[in-house]
Structure formats: structure tokens, C-alpha cells
Point group: C2
């Protein structure tokens, strides 16, 4: 079945609101095999909404709209659909009953229903889509030729629930869409996109189902494996061997699958080793600690940290020898090593980790440019590993990239 | 002048890429008085691109497209524009010269030009839009009736520069668009959107130019003042009295104007007082330190911090008395006060700040539910101020809201 999407709202055409509904709906429809032929945005203008729908009927089987279903005068999707399909609006009694029940549960008087009663109308003969997260129901209505409009609210949380629980099941049943796309994700860190392409590029061409795709996010790259199948079990059976092949070709860089995060992978390695961690941060200013405390259960491995921005704090709280700072400077391998060992000793943890660098915009020199960052990891056997990076970008980008690199280094070194 | 926007790219219709270009272009065009009548997305299919452009010509003066200008076979915008307007593609020699110069500067051989030469073609008679940030130029071309297509690349950084530096000046000149909208922003923190509405609601109705609008971001609310005028100076003259009126009505909650941030406002108050700061964080896990180190020049006021996740760290590094933890618990007013005083004394700063709370999902109780956070500020006169909040949401939301509240509390208390 071929459709076009229609986002309704004047604020979208003024650029005051970013339309996240269209890509979301498009992706979910692609997953179940609905072909999205085009997408359009129109303002809160009934004639233009009707014209956009009629124009789409010349190209595709139906239109899926978001927005304009609320109770105000600006909301004219319902009337426009009736006109475009040549149907009369009819009061849908179950929707009235649902609204009454909602008002009662909120302790509001039944007369408040008046303001919302418009929302209980649907085009004659429509299949009404209940709204699990709000008051405005949606609907799917057909004209005499079988062209349809499916309308959902513009509030993303309401639209998403209605799409997943009502509209997609309806479309799958009505158009006999048996296959759907299931996506597995393999997360990598520390390997460039070009190197991933070199290692797995032949699979792009040779694989048909599942297909694969690479998405780069800085030091992290995701490889997506998309399988088309009639059931989740069949999809998993298609994905599993490809996942194994990718894991083998990208060995050493895969930190997790699907919903897993690099913070979670670091936590997992520490749990496996039965070790705790403390961090000493200069240029990352607390970002590594923030990441390590983001995952539920962080307290099992994360003991604490010191943000040693000023050199006096490096000396007093991390026991960095003043002569190390005087001889090598705050941004140096020696200082990073000393900070990592210092925080490990002071906070009595299994491992200690440190960052020190120049986030800019000031403070750089020819020998130590803005973006230079030293990282050090003090292990429980007393050894200390140091790495150096030069990051590009502004202060914000350097702090963010250094923090991501830090998590990657922690994971890579801790799993060794 | 009325236009429609056209985003070109099959990946947009698959939901694999969110189209941020359309709202960005729409907002910039609204600023200069170009009316955006509708917006459309089509795939990489020449016939459909041509059909979308011709359909738009029935409604508006021109189409502004993004995407499909690259050198690959998928990129068919250039050919589609020529067909839609009935123009032949012509080699644009200055674009060839610019590409040659770019290759030379990158040390690449001139034969690499072949792969990119398609990009140097433009519809006959077109006004070419140079690309300050990339290789593919854009263009504006007209048909015999005066209908136009303006095409820009889909890469946001290239599109944004071309729009601001080339296309908007061209449209303003050609369509004699003298007025443009200039926006001033007043940033508030700690006042609810409903209370702002109560205090300034009459201005929404009574003001025509400038207009005002409120945007809520959690504890922060922005009030936008949008003036239409022929010059920046005239716009500022319209904005200034409204800014003053808003500042007076929202007195005590306005932390900055335009590009200013709450982190920057805290830094400014500390500089004004001539004081330094150290922070002790439990549930916020380094997020307050991260925010205070985000602004260039942070080292003038921010000395350092301790992420005291484990109680042992609160005792050893912040000198919280074990009996305070035993009697009142880690999440308590007494512990927060002790952490703030402790970090101030240990790091030898003017003020010390502390957070301790329950981010969840575990660890809550009836008396101390998930979301409870205590904040304390130890001042240079020895006094300590504590505040308590109950935040809703998941772990991520609680950590983020507590950090924003912390910055608001710091700013509010430090300016007293």
C-alpha cells in the first residue's frame, strides 16, 4: 500500500516547531512495508488541507495526517477530511463516553465536555483510533473509491501510542502486510567509519535480507542489521548469523548490542573484574563522572571523583607532586599518570582514571595546542597506561569528544 | 513573495534522517517576510521532483529546494529543475575554477574534477549561489513566466551558510523585502510558565510590533520579543522598551539576554563578588561541575569539585561527620550542609555548593522517595543555605532537572 504523509500546522511552516512526527511515522511505516511516496506540510487552512489530500489521492492509496485534531478553532483536520472524502461528520458515542469518564476521573464537571465535544466527531463510517494518552481520538475513513485518510493528533506522545497500538495493527490487517522489519544494532567504538567500510563493505552489496547500514556518531559507529520477516523469531534467525559475522570482522571494537551504552559496557567490565573506579578530571570537568553515574546501578562500581580544575586541587586532593606540575605542566603524560594513581589511592578503588587537557578557546601553545588531552588509567596491579589525543572543534566539542574517548579507552583497556 | 519548500532525499521518506533543513529555512524566510505556503518531501526520483515543482508553481511564485545537488547518480535535483523550468543545463565556468582551486589547495590531482564536474552545471541563465562550506554550488533559476526554483545542498552547514550569505540577500533585493524580523530573548529561571502568563499575558494581546512569545524548557522559560523593522537599529529601538517592561514584571527571575546561559550567569555573579566556587555532588554525579566548566573562562571562578557518590568519599574527602550520615542519612539537609561546608574548606574557595538525592530507579522509601534532592550553599560569611526539591521522571530526568535547579539556586542566591 502506498501513502503520503501530511503534517498540519501553521507553526511548522513558520519554523517555530520542528516536525519530528513525519520521520517517526515514516520509519515505523517502512518497518511494516507501507511505502511512503511523499510527505507534505500545510498550515491550519481547511481549503489547503483538502487540496493536499485530493492531490495525494491522484498518486497514492491514502494519506496519513498528524495534527489539527484538537478542540480549538485552529483545528480543522476533521472537517477537511470529511470534505476531501465526501463524508458527513458523525458523533461517535464511545468517544463521548470515554471523554466523560476522563473528566470524572479528573474531578471536573461534565459541562467541560462542551469544549471537547468536537473531538468526538468522526467522518461517517470511520474506524475510530482510540487515544491511549489523550482526549482526541484519531480515525481512518474511506471514500467511495477506497482512498483513505488516517488522522492522528500532532502531540508526539499521543501520536506514537496511537500509531503503534491502533493504526499500524489496523493497516497490517486491512492490507495483509505480513512482513515487518526488525532492526538489530551492533555498537562499536574506536574504529573509523572508513575502516568499518573496508572490513564489511562486501556485505553491503551481497546481503539482501537482512540489509546492513552504518551510522557514525563521532568515535562511536553503529552497524544496523535490518531483517524483513513475518515474525520476530524469524527476524532474529536472519539477524543472528549476520550479527556473528559482523562481531567477528569488527572484533575488539564491539561494546554492545541494541539498547546497550558505552557507559553500561564500562560498568559491565568493572563488574566482571570485581573492581571499583574513581575518576580525576581536569578538562572534562565532571563529564566522565556524569556518564559513569548515568546508568542505574552505578553505585556498585563508581565510588566517586575529583574535578581537579585548579592545580592546587591536583596537589591537595590528588597528591600530584608540585614538581611534576612545575616540570611537565598540568597537561602532560606525567600529570595524567599521577592524577590517575592519586585518585585511585585517595578514594581506595580498584582502578583510577584521569583526564587533563586544553579545552580552549584560550590556553593553547604551539607545543600544547587547544584540543590536546592526556588520559591515564591506573590499574589494580599498580601499572598505569597513558594515551594522548588531539581533538578538533570548539570548547564544547573538545569536552564532549574527550569524554566519549575516555569511556572508549576505559572499556577497551578494562576488557584486556 | 510566496514560496513552497521542497526537501529531496529518499532517506527522508524512510525516516532514516530527520529533516531539520525545512524548519530552519522556514524560520529564516519568515524573518525576512517570505511567506512559506507549504512544504514537501520527495525521494530521489526525477519525475516526482519535477511534478512537485510544477504543482507548486500553480500555487506560489517559487520553490526552494534542499538536497540532491551532490555528484552521485542519486543526485538529480539539477536535471529536475532544468526540466521543470524548461531550461538547458549550462557549464558555469567560475564554479569549475572554484573546484579546481579547492582541489589544488587539498593537494589532489586535477583529474579528480571529473567526479565533481556535474556540480558545475546550472540551468541556463541561473544566478549561481556560491557554497562557502563545500563544493556543490546552488542556484536560482526562472522560467519564462517568472516562476523560480532556488536549490541548495542538503548538508545543513553548507545550506545554512548559502541561505544566509547568498540566497536571502538575493531574495531581499529581487523582491524588495525591506523589513525583517529581529528577535530578542529574555531568559528566566525558577518561575513557572503559568505565572509568566499571569504577569505578562496582557502584552500578548496588546502588542503588535514587537510580538512576544513564551517558550518553556523545564525550570527555564524564554520570552521572545520579535520586532519587524527595516534595520537592526530600528528593531532594537522597538525591542528595548518591551525588554525593559518584561524585565520589570519578571524581576528576580531574569538571568540573561539573547545568547547568555545560566552557567554564564552563575560565573558572572561569582566574578562580581570576587569569589571562587567548589562543588560536592552526589546524585548529580558531576553534572553541576560539567555545567560550570562549560563556559570559556571558567577557571577564573571554578576551582574544582568532588563527586562523592560513596559515603566513604563524603567522609574522607569532604569531612562529613560519620554520625551525621548515621543519624540523618546521606540524603538529608544535614548531609547537604556538611558537604557544602566541607568542599568549601577543603578546596579553599569563597563558596561551596552541594547536592545529595535519590536519582533512582532504586533506593527510594516512603519518607525519602526517588526524586528527593537536597541542595546546600556554603557562603563566605560562614552561613549555609539549604533547599529541598522533589523531582519527577526517570533517573535521567531527575539528574538533569536537579542540575538545572542547582544552577538556578546558585544564581538566585549569589545575586542576593
Amino acid at each position: 500500500v502506498d501513502v503520503e504523509l501530511l503534517a498540519i500546522g501553521t507553526e511548522l511552516l513558520l519554523g517555530q516547531l520542528v516536525d519530528t512526527n513525519t520521520p517517526y511515522v515514516a520509519a515505523r511505516l517502512a518497518d511494516v512495508g507501507v511505502n511512503v511516496f511523499g510527505a507534505h506540510t500545510v498550515g491550519d487552512n481547511k481549503a489547503r488541507i483538502v487540496a493536499a489530500m485530493r492531490s495525494a489521492f491522484e498518486r497514492v492509496d491514502g494519506v496519513i495526517s498528524t495534527g489539527g485534531l484538537g478542540p480549538t478553532v485552529d483545528d480543522m483536520t476533521r472537517d477537511a477530511v470529511c470534505e476531501a472524502l465526501g463524508l458527513a461528520p458523525v458523533l461517535h458515542q464511545p468517544s463521548v463516553d470515554a471523554m466523560k469518564a476522563m473528566l470524572a476521573s479528573m474531578g471536573r464537571p461534565e459541562r467541560d465536555l462542551e469544549n471537547n465535544l468536537d473531538q468526538a466527531y468522526a467522518p461517517a463510517g470511520a474506524y475510530v483510533l482510540e487515544n491511549p494518552n489523550g482526549s482526541a481520538p484519531g480515525f481512518v475513513a474511506f471514500d467511495a473509491r477506497g482512498k483513505f485518510v488516517a488522522s492522528m493528533p500532532g502531540v508526539p506522545s499521543e501520536m506514537k501510542a496511537m500509531l503503534a497500538e491502533r493504526l499500524i495493527p489496523y493497516l497490517r490487517e486491512r492490507y495483509d502486510l505480513r512482513e515487518r522489519i526488525t532492526t538489530g544494532i551492533i555498537h562499536t567504538i574506536g574504529i573509523a567509519e572508513a575502516e568499518i567500510d573496508r572490513r564489511i563493505g562486501d556485505l553491503f552489496a551481497s546481503l539482501e535480507n537482512p540489509k546492513i547500514a552504518v551510522l557514525a556518531h563521532g568515535y562511536k559507529c553503529d552497524v544496523k542489521v535490518m531483517a524483513k520477516a513475518a515474525s520476530a523469531a524469524q527476524a532474529e534467525a536472519l539477524i543472528a548469523p549476520v550479527r556473528a559475522e559482523l562481531a567477528s570482522r569488527l572484533d575488539g571494537y564491539v561494546y554492545g548490542d541494541d539498547d546497550e551504552t558505552i557507559e553500561g559496557a564500562v560498568q559491565r567490565e568493572l563488574l566482571r573484574r570485581g573492581e571499583t573506579i574513581a575518576v580525576a578530571e581536569s578538562c572534562t570537568g565532571g563529564r566522565v563522572a556524569s556518564a559513569l553515574t548515568a546508568t542505574p546501578g552505578a553505585s556498585a562500581v563508581f565510588v566517586g571523583g575529583v574535578v581537579a580544575y585548579d592545580n592546587a586541587v591536583k596537589i591537595a586532593e590528588l597528591d600530584v607532586p608540585p614538581e611534576v606540575l612545575a616540570t611537565h605542566g598540568a597537561v602532560s603524560e606525567e600529570t595524567a599518570r599521577s592524577m590517575a594513581s592519586g585518585v585511585r589511592a585517595r578514594l581506595k578503588t580498584g582502578v583510577g582514571f584521569a583526564t587533563t587537557g586544553i579545552a580552549g578557546p584560550d590556553g593553547g601553545s604551539e607545543q600544547k595546542p587547544v584540543g590536546l588531552v592526556w588520559f591515564a588509567l591506573a590499574l589494580s596491579n599498580g601499572s598505569v597506561i597513558a594515551e594522548k589525543m588531539n581533538f578538533r572543534g570548539d570548547r564544547h566539542a573538545i569536552q564532549a569528544r574527550a569524554s566519549t574517548f575516555a569511556l572508549g579507552m576505559l572499556w577497551r583497556r578494562l576488557k584486556e
